[in-house]
Symmetry: C2
Subunit: 113 residues, 2 copies
DNA sequence: TTGACATATTCCTATATGGGAATATATTTA
DNA sequence: TAAATATATTCCCATATAGGAATATGTCAA
């Protein structure tokens, strides 16, 4: 079996750095495809293809205005990722505490030694 | 160019559902490979291979005890994902507000009409 | 040392890319 | 209708899987 399709869910869709860049730009509001092409310095077909993936997994919405297509982020689609990563929040708090404690103990030992 | 390697960063690593399952289990503490094999009902080589990817991107740490290898989650590695998704938090708050407002307006309209 | 146990790696294959190039589709304007 | 503009899709290819099967490596027990 090959890797899951990028369109299988939001996790797979945002694994691609360019798509995260696109979403970062759309976080500031609606943008046309050409806006993204210019700002991200990517080829137009590339941007369109990435937007297609983001659309398929529900991470962006589109609106047509004349010849232009205006895309906006659908943040609700990112929420599951946020919720999942959040379940590890307590862990990194604890683990950092332990790292800090070890560092302090070490400093104490060396000042005493 | 093909898709980025699963070992290129945490985003790519956790795009695979099995790897998220593994991390979910490791969130509760250290587990041996066989523990994971039994709990997740996956083939042992499959678990080892997923753990290898997680290790390469720094999402888990290993400790040997006799013949067994005990893995634990390194939550720090998940933090960048949490931070990135967090930048969209204000958006889904706003967007939900708008959805709610529209729903209320619609309800009002229909009760008046 | 030999066998058993625990885990890791290699080999194989079907599949899904992401980018580049070319082309198709949709809409406005002359 | 034809030309121009904006965006989307298709075709091609090198590359990276994920899982299954087989095998290798490492460690303990007799």
């Amino acid at each position: 079996m090959a890797r899951a399709a990028t369109t299988s869910d939001a996790f797979n869709a945002v694994a691609e750095p360019r798509r995260r860049e696109i979403l970062d730009h759309l976080a500031s509001g609606e943008h046309s495809v050409n806006d993204l092409v210019i700002r991200l310095r990517l080829e137009q077909p590339s941007v369109s293809k990435h937007l297609r993936v983001l659309r398929d997994v529900g991470l962006v919405r589109v609106r047509r205005h004349g010849r232009q297509m205006f895309y906006q982020a659908n943040a609700e689609g990112i929420r599951p990722l946020h919720e999942w990563t959040k379940t590890f929040e307590r862990l990194w708090a604890h683990q950092l505490t332990r790292v800090k404690e070890r560092a302090e103990q070490k400093a104490k030992d060396s000042s005493e030694g």
